[in-house]
């Protein structure tokens, strides 16, 4: 009996260690953002007194942070929608239609996600300079598809494959063409998978950095991640860490909320790739 008790205690200690490992740095970001700027170098575990000055500083008009959040939302949102539309079609074809060469096609699509961003970015930047696309949304959205589209196709293919084949068979027996079977039977039932894929694609694009950093040099077109790495701040410290932590919390909170609400779905989507 004693060994089982020790084991249970060890297990709980292990779980506590995992939670501490994952959350401690994030907690530090939160705590640092809630200190007064003059307390920036205090290392106490609880901010005392609490202050939102760092958040005021982050949203100071000179930083352009509010506008950058909108830019991030536009880029991540449009990339997600665009990629979903393409990937629903492609994923359905690969998972449900019976034709030769689907293995190699999926392999090519997945392989494109392994290409290093910089290899694609060097020539794309060259082209964007020529066609005056520097400082535009499309210059950020189109290259973002290079990683978001394979991810979405892969996830949706996995999802479509799990649905029972009898669905289309019944639809075809009832006189539907393959196209109608897709539109009227499969698509409505695929909504949860589409939603999961949307979350994953959105998080991936929201976190993107190197493309947004390279194709934009005007402040009002920068995304939140880029502008945050360039903050100079209004307080006289060599780097305005308090302001950056506050802005970092603002950028991260939507993602943390998504993770809290949809953790089961997100894990299912992520593991769909590797396991099963």
């Amino acid at each position: 009996m004693r060994t089982t008790n020790t084991r249970a205690v060890l297990r709980w200690l292990g779980i506590l260690a995992i939670v501490a490992y994952c959350l401690a740095p994030f907690y530090w970001m939160l705590v640092s953002s809630l200190r007064r700027p003059s307390d920036q170098f205090s290392n106490s575990l609880v901010p005392n007194p609490l202050s939102l000055d760092n958040y005021d500083a982050a949203f100071d008009p000179r930083n352009g942070f509010a506008r950058a959040l909108v830019n991030s939302l536009v880029v991540a949102g449009s990339t997600t929608v665009l990629v979903l539309v393409l990937a629903i079609f492609a994923g359905y074809a690969i998972a449900r239609l019976d034709f030769k060469g689907k293995g190699p096609i999926l392999a090519i699509i997945v392989a494109t996600s392994m290409f290093p961003g910089i290899t694609l970015l060097v020539p794309l930047l060259d082209v964007f300079v020529d066609i005056n696309w520097i400082n535009t949304y499309q210059a950020m959205i189109l290259p973002s598809m290079t990683f978001a589209l394979p991810l979405a196709v892969w996830n949706l293919t996995a999802f479509f494959r799990q649905m029972p084949y009898e669905l289309e068979e019944a639809a075809v027996v009832d006189g539907c063409t393959p196209g109608q079977a897709f539109r009227k039977v499969i698509l409505p039932l695929a909504a949860p998978g589409v939603f999961t894929t949307a979350i994953l694609a959105f998080i991936a694009t929201w976190n993107e950095f190197i493309i947004a950093l390279s194709v934009v040099n005007r402040k009002d077109m920068m995304t939140a991640n880029v502008i945050l790495s360039l903050f100079t701040g209004q307080y006289r410290y060599d780097q305005p860490f308090g302001t950056q932590m506050a802005a970092g919390v603002v950028v991260t909170i939507p993602l943390v909320l998504m993770v809290l609400f949809f953790q089961r779905r997100i894990v299912e989507g992520l593991t769909a790739g590797g396991v099963k």
Partner: protein, 331 residues
């Protein structure tokens, strides 16, 4: 090194309405339907393939061409003006192996490799340990899972700033260690800071993927091992690890491919043009931002080939099944 082969259930080959039609009509109908399906598949796949050809296929070819375009600047002796001339050649590549540019390139190649090996090994070990701890059912599992996803969800740029703050001179890391290390300045400590920050962010993610693999192992297997008197250590090496290997190999492959192209973390945590943390991506980006597209493309192509070789080794030697699930089943 015998991995358990996954058995796939044979898929039934049925076509609806088969029994009701005559043999002739059935053959003609099947052929017509088959053509219809192929047409539909082509229609559904072409937008994606076109988009990828545009944003991936074309850039790779253009990068190859750029990397082979050598631009020389010289003063025209007749007019006295600076002129640029471009010609095809391999100078952008050979420059990576000689002189000052060679030192810088080989250093970036070395950093890329050591970051990948060190962080790859660390996240694999920590990830497996986390998965083993979480593998038993317990109350509050959903909350723990959400906590584990937090490092993964934080944008790399934000986590780089966060660690820069933690590692700053008067930061909490020096406070805890009671040291005064200048973490984010040139030197081994900067390399270590990047490894720590990346391990923090990605080990939990590996843990989740391995956990999903662990949960597929039937409980009977462990019971049988216990009946046979196998020790916990032996059970782990002989049963758990081989059975979880397919999930682990794919998770580690994707992590390693990400590590090879690492950019955000060294760029924000330490900065560009820092010898101790400059990776191939950072080097190529720096060349590009200085409008030296030729060398930038050459370095990026070398990175591309490096990644392709590593991916090939994983798929062929370790048997990473990256697409299996997407096409298996009904063919």
């Amino acid at each position: 090194m015998t991995a358990p082969t996954q058995t796939r259930p044979p898929a039934p080959r049925r076509r609806p309405g088969q029994a009701r039609e005559g043999a002739h009509r059935q053959a003609a109908g099947a052929r017509r339907r088959r053509a219809g399906i192929v047409r539909l598949a082509a229609l559904l796949l072409s937008p994606t393939l076109l988009a990828l050809a545009l944003v991936v296929g074309y850039p790779v070819l253009a990068a190859l061409r750029l990397s082979l375009t050598v631009t020389e600047e010289g003063i025209n002796p007749e007019t006295g003006l600076i002129e640029r001339s471009s010609e095809l050649g391999t100078k952008n590549y050979t420059d990576g192996f000689q002189g000052d540019t060679g030192d810088r390139f080989l250093n970036a190649l070395w950093n890329t490799t050591t970051f990948t090996l060190a962080t790859g090994a660390l996240v694999t070990v920590i990830g497996v340990v986390m998965a083993l701890i979480m593998s038993r059912a317990f109350r509050g599992r959903g909350l723990v899972r959400a906590a584990v996803l937090v490092p993964w969800a934080i944008p790399t740029v934000i986590s780089a700033l966060l660690w820069k703050w933690i590692f700053s001179t008067d930061g909490v890391a020096n406070d805890i260690l009671n040291t005064k290390i200048l973490w984010t300045t040139e030197g081994f400590q900067a390399w270590l800071a990047v490894v720590i920050a990346d391990t923090w962010k990605t080990a939990p993610f590996i843990g989740l993927l391995v956990l999903a693999g662990l949960q597929l192992i039937p409980a009977e297997v462990y019971e049988a091992a216990r009946v046979d008197g196998s020790s916990a250590w032996r059970t782990f090496w002989r049963i758990t690890l081989p059975l979880v290997k397919p999930a682990l190999v794919v998770a580690v492959l994707f992590r390693i491919l990400d590590l090879l192209r690492m950019f955000d973390l060294p760029f924000v945590l330490v900065g560009p043009r820092k010898e101790s943390v400059e990776t191939l991506s950072v080097l190529a980006w720096d060349e590009m931002s200085n409008l030296r597209f030729g060398p930038a493309a050459a370095y990026a192509m070398i990175l591309f080939v490096y990644i392709a070789i590593v991916a090939y080794v994983f798929v062929r030697v370790l048997g990473a099944d990256i697409i299996g699930r997407g096409v298996q089943g009904r063919k």
